[in-house]
Amino acid sequence: MVEVLEARKQQVLEKGKDTYALECEKASTAGSVSQRACVFCGSRVVLYPIADALHLIHGPIGCAAYTWELRGSLSSGPELHRLSFSTDLKENDVIYGGEKKLYAALTELINEYKPKAAFVYCTCIIGLIGDDVDAVCAKVEKEHGIQVIPVHSEGFKGTKKDGYKAACEGAFKLTGKDNTTPVSDFSINILGEFNLAGETWIIKDYYKRMGIEVTSCITGDGRVGEIGKAHRARLNVVQCSGSMTYLAKMMEKEYGIPFIRVSYFGIEDMSKALYDVADFFNNEKIMENTKELVRSEVSDLLPRLAEFRKDLEGKKAGVYVGGSFKAFSMVKALRHLGMETVVVGSQTGSPEDYEYLKEITNEGTIILDDTNPLELSGFILEKGADLLIGGVKERPIAYKMGIGFCDHNHERKEALAGFEGMLNFAREVHNSVTSPVWKYSPARMKAQEKKI
């Protein structure tokens, strides 16, 4: 029996057994070992891949240290985003204010690196000591002629989701700047693709083959100049809906660009994403290209997946990821490998998201919101999962239990998006689940003995 905190009882349900609607979108219970992060983290992870912008973290050192190289958002050019800049506030600054330090730091950095734009992230302390960051940014902006954008991401001001919103506001300020560079009639912006392990490049290639121009990618392998013309694209295609829907809505309102939500993970969702875009443009040639692309990619992929599926058929998986959209894709992708999802949850899902998860999972599946390691490991064990999909903090938990693991968060080194990403995913899941190392796990050895 897995113990669940009283206050969290309604945040966990078993499909087919529990009839209540899953509680979600609420603050974590104080005292829980939550896997969630803060507002600052949310804005930092989203804006981080804009590679030719300066990212200065205004606050004490920790916030900058922990988000330095937080995720492998690759750049095809400048790599300014990968350095860690901090005003490194000290006790005196906390007492007397950090505005002067911020001004000096910004000036030094802009002189040194000549960035295309600058983001200044406000951390917890800034909200408390009340530095007028907007004023400092405006002053520096005037003096240096580049946009200097304050990102109000004080850690305590909500959840990671609020950080996404702050990031969207920041990114939005970069749009609407370039009204001259020609933009195609068949043009889109990719929103919420972060170019982990080069995924943006895979996706961009698909669109190119379809005959569609990617005007900008916000924010994967991002450039300030590209985002400047984003407002003239015809469609926004939102991948990480949790983080970027807000920006899409802002752009819809301001520039009249419609948006669709997609996922690039798994065969169905990837294909659907491309078809949805093709549908939008209602152009015969594009539709033909898309069909051809999907046909050739899928027919290449399926026989190769079958190889992995042979070994994975009937295995079970647990999924615990940040965004719920990713969870949907995982459930479907695992099904292609013959695997059933027995535990699934997210840090930030909405009521509709969890209803959808209920729809696509089997009876008996545990669905959870904002879980903690004790619960998670309990349910994994109870349901006999052979694999856990999660992020950095979940990996060693899976290994300790003697089951396979696949990182589907910041730390992954494999591109998992697109058709080739599906193949990487299958390979990683296969190699982890069928690794001979598990036969040395005492738990497995015991189970084996019992069988004999």
Partner: protein, 458 residues
């Protein structure tokens, strides 16, 4: 390349840290707390801090790192975090059942002025803390010190909360290690055990963050110092604190609070510091150094003699944590290497600066504190290129940019494993370290040798 643009010319910066050579206090406090058996670290602030610290330790140790958070929201930030903390205490004991909750503060809870003493007393008064359980805390804002300071503060809190002088001395010697790997904690214990010494050591993260895989997830692995031992340290005959920056405050408190005579030594890294540690154990306990230890020492010295020519005269640059740097610098000198740069992001104090300068030699550049960051380190290296870098994972960018070998030491190490299993302390750790150094130089010699000079035996 990532660091292509780092300019050679060193310009004084005052307002800016680029690529920090340190991180913040709570992660060190969390690590220290993990070194007590059945202790759950708790972060009093917003969720992000706790998530970051857990991630950092998870990456470094590849182990499940448990810690809870007060989950501050805007309300808590305005009205204070007392209710969050009290609720946390309730929930933690109800669900996770630790023996001890070790609270570290964050910038946020420090700036709003939460009085943890008062909150904990309130929890005691309200009977929220079950019998036999403890809630302790250390003040660890990020705007002061570094991860090493955080470690030191939590270690001090252990003395403050547990060490008790009953008036009746026991036979033990208390050992207080600075922020080192679990493998180093094991090595220090190994030396004390070989010497036949009755010791109490805390914190002790061995068996906690390098625990074996047994098919289960354990909220509290088997390792860690039992709290009874920490309590008993107040009656110990003698205390040795190893590594000044990480232990000074705790050692002083143990001395003043429990009247335990304490002495501070350098971490036993390298030959001379290990010699000093063993000699101190010998004289304070009246034991003789056993043959087994003499053999370990002899082996280290032997290998150093055998291959001294490969390391002699090599130029070394080091960045890292202040206590570890002492041992490393001394070890480099013992091996005939030339130390040219030593930096630490930890504001280790003027005394540290002076001592390490003395140790490293008049030509070495030494810097500690805020602007002693990796940007500065890179600039120094561009002006005088060393043959080898000691430092944490983040040095890999400099190492690659300048084609200099890097031996990973200190915290954090995200991209290599082994540090939590193989020590750098003691003679055995010295041997391990020496082999690493030799590998680096000999590999390089092989790599760079012309065809006719490429030989089998070295």
């Amino acid at each position: 390349m990532l660091l292509r643009h780092t300019p050679k010319e060193v310009v004084e910066r005052s307002a800016l840290t680029i690529n920090p050579a340190k991180t913040c206090q709570p992660v060190g406090a969390m690590y220290a707390a993990l070194g007590i058996h059945k202790c759950l670290p708790h972060s009093h602030g917003s969720q992000g801090c706790c998530a970051y610290h857990r991630s950092a330790l998870t990456r470094h140790y590849a182990e499940p790192i448990m810690a809870s958070t007060s989950s501050f929201t805007e309300g808590a930030s305005v009205f204070g975090g007392q209710s969050n903390m009290l609720e946390s205490i309730n929930n933690i004991f109800a669900l996770y059942d630790p023996d001890i909750i070790a609270v570290n503060t964050t910038c946020l809870s420090e700036v709003i002025g939460d009085d943890l003493n008062q909150i904990i007393n309130r929890a005691i008064a309200d009977n929220k803390i079950p019998k036999g359980k403890t809630v302790m805390y250390a003040s660890t804002p990020s705007f002061k010190g570094s991860h090493v300071t955080g470690y030191a503060n939590m270690l001090t809190a252990m003395v403050q909360n547990f060490a008790t002088n009953t008036g009746k001395k026991n036979k033990s010697i208390t050992l207080l290690p600075s922020f080192v790997e679990p493998s180093d904690m094991s090595e220090i214990k190994h030396i004390a055990a070989e010497m036949g010494i009755d010791y109490i050591m805390y914190p002790d993260t061995s068996g906690v963050v390098n625990a074996p895989m047994d098919g289960k997830f354990h909220m509290y692995p088997k390792g860690g110092t039992p709290r009874e031992k920490i309590i008993a340290s107040g009656d110990s005959r003698y205390a040795l604190a190893l590594g000044r920056v990480g232990t000074f405050q705790a050692a002083q408190l143990l001395d003043s609070k429990c009247k335990v005579k304490t002495e501070i030594l350098d971490l036993p890294i390298g030959i001379s510091a290990t010699d000093a540690f063993i000699d101190k154990l010998r004289t304070t306990s009246g034991v003789t150094v056993p043959e087994s230890i003499t053999v370990e020492r002899g082996q280290l010295v032997d290998v150093l003699c055998d291959k001294a020519q490969y390391v002699y005269g090599k130029k070394i640059s080091l960045m890292g944590d202040p206590d570890i740097l002492f041992g490393l610098v001394q070890f480099c000198k013992d091996a005939g290497m030339e130390v040219i740069h030593v930096i630490t992001g930890t504001p280790a104090g003027a005394k540290w600066d002076r001592r390490i300068k003395e140790l490293a030699g008049p030509n070495a550049i030494v810097k500690s504190g805020a602007q002693a960051d990796l940007f500065y380190f890179h600039q120094l290296l561009q002006n005088t290129k060393p043959d080898l870098i000691f430092g944490n994972t983040y040095c890999k960018y400099i190492a690659r940019d300048m084609d200099i070998p890097l031996i990973r030491t200190g915290f954090p190490i995200y991209d290599r494993i082994g540090h939590s299993y193989f020590p750098i302390t003691g003679y055995r750790g010295g041997l391990h370290l020496l082999v690493k150094i030799l590998d680096v130089f000999m590999d390089r010699q092989d790599r760079d040798a012309s065809e006719e000079k490429f030989e089998l035996v070295m």
